[in-house]
Amino acid sequence: METLELKEQTITAPATQSISGSKAVLEAFIAEGVDTIFGYPGGAIMPIYDALYDYHDQLKHVLVRHEQGGIHAGQGYARSSGKVGVVFATSGPGATNLVTGLADAMIDSTPLVCVTGQVFAHLLGTDAFQEVDVVNITTPVTKWNYQITDANEIPHILAKAFFIAKSGRPGPVLIDISKNAQLQTFEYKGYQKCEHIRSYRPKPIIRKSYIEKAAELINSAQKPFILFGQGIILGRAENEFKNFIEKTGIPAAWTLLGLSALPTDHPQNVGMLGMHGNYGPNVLTNECDVLIAIGMRFDDRVTGRLDKYAKQAKVIHLDIDPAEIDKNVKTTVPVWGDCKETLPLLTELVTAKKHTEWLNKFNEYKQKELDVVIHNELNPTTEQMTMGEVIKILNQNTNGDAIIVTDVGQHQMVASRYAKFNQSKSNITSGGAGTMGFALPAAIGAKFGAPSRTVVAIIGDGGVQMTIQELGTIMQTEINVKILILNNEFLGMVRQWQQLFHDKRYSFVDIQSPNYVMVANAYGIAAQKVTSRNQLADAITTMLQHEGSYLLEVMVGKENNVFPMVPQGCSVSEIRLS
């Protein structure tokens, strides 16, 4: 095993205030209100795990089956609870297993504090056992990271870590703690939360003049259009947002991560933006006269071809991150700041209106999309089931109250298009990174973050096999998550692209599955497989009513495609219905 050399640490004489670095880490967690840690132990983090042994009644630790599962669970927890997700991993391979999750959390602005163990400080740079330069590996995928080699640093560095992770535009923070610092006892002077770092301005100051200018543009607009993203959810500004759109009467469309910030059936909710979004919002982006983007970052999956994106429109961009202004789309009026503060200021200055005619235009496009795409997807006449009809029946059972966690692929797009949501923080998916394998562990985390809510993970037959080991975590924690596998016996989304853009040359997308029912049962999880439509409704009810976790595999059409679609390199107005 790892070296047990202890000689280099400074051992201070035992006094009432002397505690170990490891204990200081856990004291910091308690002061920050942490209740759950997702983690996996190993040599370099053993002192912290040893200290955790005495804290088990204050801190819940969820033993995952792989560190990637741990960090995705931390993300799910953060997204369903609005709190910071906390993750433990050991040095070397433990830490490198976090990298995918860090990248995912970075691009989706998820607040995390990850603590990794590191080899003894005197071994740094010697290629010691399980030594990896984790700070440098993770620099591009963390909002901030830091290596601690002296226990005295632990309280204030952890205070900084939590402050940075959750303030401003949230993001993942990684703290690497060498083993000697974990073992070292030091004079503990208590924990003080961090509220200010001189070089860090989480929120830009709000400028009244920009708000006034934005209000002027909105008041004179004939065809204004709102695009909203996760900024509303992260800023806890759902009510402020609703007040704003209801006063202005402007139609509003969401990005993948903005989903659930506004109830799905709100009359001004005109649907989803982007590659597999709704017809109206995409086409009318290129017809509106004022585009109001709130807490979103104009991702290329939303904009399609940039030089043909909303060129006719004046753009108002509300964002907390100054670097997002003008990054992809040139802004006419930048409204910097936290939208929880800027939206009410803007609402005050805008005149109350109803854009009935303009809203009707969205409805006309919606009708067309209903006729050509949606109707068939939800009420298929084919023998094979569609993903859409599964989601429809799920909606009938959940009434929009469940947390839906999706993986990546066709099922993700179909679920986002058709799932109903009544409340915020209910849609959890890997948006910016598109990480297959995200959903199963994220669903576990989401349930820990919101124990009173129903959590349904919707996963493809490809993605579920990427992190299927987390069924072990479900077994051991006896957590209640519903796992809905939509099995099309293909890596569906890649197959769709091969069909449409590569002459149907199906190159390595034909993927086999194990017997999921047996796999689930082996983990002590109830399960069922459904192959025909007449079993579907009962199966979904059974799944939702089952006490405890349940896995339901639904066989769906092998070669169904997701439409509408904005092909890569095309403008949003070139969206295809078939």
Binding site: I164, H196, S199, P204, P322, A323, I325
Partner: protein
Amino acid sequence: MKQEYTITVYTENQVGLLNRIAIIFSRRKINIESLNTSPSEAEGIHRFTIVINETEDVVRKLCRQIEKQVEVLKAYYNTNEEIIWQELALYKVPTDVITEKVKVERLLREFGARAVVIRKDYTIFETTGHREETEGLINALAPYDLIEFVRSARVAIIKASNGFHEKLKEFEAYEPAEELAENAFLNNQAEVFSM
């Protein structure tokens, strides 16, 4: 249009920050022509001077990404007209060749060079100036068995700057002044609204 820009970054002095800043460029496949780190006029504040060849649009976005880093206080970018800048170069040449073939005196005068060391076997000259100036002396010495040459990164001072002391006080304050909280590039309203 691409041109030379000098980026001046005021930062906390922390391990790893050089990497954090450098990867903002390398991630976008942008070559750093020159990079210098040094203390600044304000105690405890470090100053990076980075030279790149890019369009203004790209440089502006890069500066925002740099300012987004937790330990960065401020990033400015300037064209060569807006700064006073210098680079330092050292040249090692065999003393006998110099004394025989070129007059040391001529070099010293013509290129504003200074002899830093004169030994029997070699002499080291130093010049300070713009790229063309330091390069002029290389060309002059090239035929005379130039043994070694090295040039430093650029250091630059922004003509219009009043230094960082006052700004730093405002950063330390909990509620910053407007100018600091906002990005300098957007302070000019006329530019923002002319589209």
